[in-house]
């Protein structure tokens, strides 16, 4: 099963803001740590190296293209 790229949440604004809210009041360093923790928890939950690699490739390409 490839990485899902179409919307999967019925209320996308709510999950987006839930993630944003989690960063409220954190320093940049703490934000970075929070994100790292989230990535690890979610990657472990997904448990599929191929999916995680695919997500990394897409996210990294988008960062590079913003260069």
């Amino acid at each position: 099963m490839p990485l899902r790229r179409d919307p999967s949440f019925s209320d996308p604004d709510r999950i987006y803001n839930t993630i944003i809210d989690a960063h409220r009041g954190l320093s940049d360093a703490e934000s970075l740590s929070l994100n790292a923790g989230l990535v690890l928890l979610l990657a472990n939950h997904i448990g599929d190296e191929g999916i995680v690699r695919e997500a990394i490739a897409i996210a990294r390409a988008s960062v590079m293209s913003m260069g």
Binding site: L32, A36, V39, L40
Partner: protein, 527 residues
């Protein structure tokens, strides 16, 4: 510091130095570190003479390697040295990892019983070498030449020639086979103009051995970000003779001359252990590398140990893997020297031990990257793991303070016969893997294997006759003990294993005819 002058390491003039023409020897080993010495002992055990050249005239400096793995001890057991080393060293199997002052994780490297050798012993490298030197001298077959520095090496189609500098001047030697076990700075590698490439880690580590009396368990203690070394890591480990290894990460920009001054190191020791009395045995500062030669065999010249590959110490993979190089090389060289196998067998030394080096380099670079993360992003992930590890089981698997040395299974080896077991059946003992020990009556399976090839029939049926391939090179045994049968996947149905002289599995079957075993044997010697 190290012991007074030890005559075992004294330079003695060799009759070869008197000759007008270079003397010739079948096997010359450059370097009497752990790897050169184990190789010489293993060859001696198989009846071969060799010359070992080392420029030192005394035990090697400092402790360097302290952790010797179960597999190393099993190899030492085959050479008759394991009991002495275990008695001399301290045995351990558990470790703790701290984040700040909190214990976040503990591990046990040998949770099950039924192995002759412990998971690890800690013993200063020079003690291990001294035991090997004594055994080499006892063998009467190892011509150990201290104060002999190799300065030039020239390969030829039939061997190699060497120039050796001694306190009495230089002399020449020729050899059919030359083994370069001359460490990280290998002169043989430089003389052949070979690349030694890989990764260098910027962080520096201050390492000291201190002698003191404290009452602490013999465990490996590793700290991330302890109060006595903020933002950095530290390691504490016991060795023999009340000596403790302390290891402090000090960062890329630390001034090594300042850091290694005893008064400055003393402050660190006291910050770690409290206001105690101690004496220094050794102080050193390292920047670590992970790299290897692209090939370990160059015609009649073979590279082993640090001369062939280098890893960071997290995981204790340097010396242990070097000793496994020797273990792999000795029986192959023996077969070639005795004319039982062609030189092609030595290409499998290169293939198998390169695979092992890659595995060790990967494991130790990953550990080093975890311990000293490069950049803020990597550090955030590391810190996230430390933050989650106490409550989240999945994070324990990510925590990496060094993955300790285990033997490599030679999965793609040309010497292995296609697995006769069903997929996933007793995977730990698949062809290529190192044989696992188990109790037999009042002995041990690995000791029963001896020095050559072995064919073992595991069966719960006591009346089973010996399965015999009818070849004098293969000794056969029948094993009926429960635990051994269970470990080898023979609890419910019998199994036949062909084991190589280095105790790795060459082939296994549920049932095997003598022709199958003979064919597997021929394959295992690259015939």
């Amino acid at each position: 510091m190290t012991a007074a002058v030890d005559t075992k390491f004294a330079y003695r003039r060799s009759p070869d130095q008197e000759r007008a023409h270079p003397a010739h020897h079948p096997v010359v080993i450059v370097g009497a570190g752990p790897v050169g010495l184990v190789l010489a002992l293993d060859l001696a055990g198989k009846g071969h003479r060799c010359v070992v050249l080392d420029r030192r005239q005394g035990p090697s400096e400092g402790s360097r390697a302290i952790c010797w793995s179960k597999r190393t001890l099993e190899i030492m057991g085959r050479l008759g040295l394991a009991d002495d080393l275990i008695r001399r060293g301290v045995t351990w199997k558990t470790g703790k990892v701290f984040s700040g002052t909190r214990e976040v994780y503990r591990f046990d490297l040998q949770p099950e019983a039924g192995h002759a050798r412990p998971a690890f012993i800690n013993l200063q490298q020079f003690h291990l070498e001294t035991h090997c030197v004594a055994a080499a001298l006892r063998s009467g077959l190892v011509d150990l030449r201290w104060g002999n520095e190799v300065t030039h090496v020239a390969p030829s189609a039939t061997g190699a020639s060497l120039r050796v500098a001694t306190p009495d001047g230089a002399y020449g030697l020729t050899a059919d086979w030359l083994v370069a076990a001359d460490g990280v700075q290998s002169i043989v590698r430089r003389e052949l103009g070979l690349d030694f490439e890989g990764q260098t880690f910027n962080d520096q580590f201050l390492i000291c051995d201190v002698k003191l009396l404290i009452d602490r368990p013999t465990e490996r203690w590793f700290w991330f970000d302890p109060p006595f070394n903020p933002g950095q890591s530290a390691l504490l480990h016991r060795q023999a003779d009340n000596v403790w290894r302390l290891d402090f990460q000090i960062g890329a920009d630390a001034d090594r001359n300042e850091e290694t001054r005893p008064e400055n190191v003393a402050k660190r020791v006291k910050a770690m252990l409290g206001d105690i009395d101690f004496t220094f045995e050794w102080i050193s500062c390292y920047r670590f590398h992970c790299r290897r030669l692209s090939r370990f065999r160059h015609g009649r010249i073979l590279f082993a140990g640090d001369a062939a590959h280098q890893v960071s110490p997290f995981g204790a993979r340097g010396g242990n893997s070097g000793i496994q190089d020797a273990d792999n090389l000795a029986w192959k060289l023996d077969h070639v020297l005795r004319g039982l196998a062609s030189e092609a067998l030595l290409d499998t030394y290169d293939a198998e031990r390169r695979q092992a080096a890659d595995e060790n380099i990967l494991a130790s670079s990953r550990a080093t990257d975890f311990i000293s993360p490069k950049g803020a992003g990597a550090r955030a992930f590391r810190d996230a793991v430390l933050g989650l590890v106490e409550t989240e089981p999945f994070a324990r698997a990510f925590l990496n303070s060094g993955r300790l040395s285990v033997p490599t299974a030679y999965d793609a080896s040309a010497l292995s016969t296609i697995d006769g077991f069903a997929p996933h059946d007793a995977l730990a003992l698949r062809p290529g893997a190192a044989a696992v020990d188990a109790p037999l009556g009042n002995g041990w399976l690995l000791s029963a294997l001896g020095q050559g090839f072995g064919e073992i029939c595991f069966t719960r049926e006591p009346a089973t006759p010996r399965h015999d391939a009818g070849l004098p090179e293969i000794r056969s045994l029948v094993v009926t003990d429960d635990l051994a049968c269970a470990r080898y996947g023979a609890a419910d149905a019998p199994a036949v294993y062909l084991i190589r002289p280095d105790q790795h599995v060459a082939a296994r079957w549920r049932r095997a005819a003598p022709e199958d075993v003979r064919a597997a044997y021929r394959r295992a010697i690259a015939a």
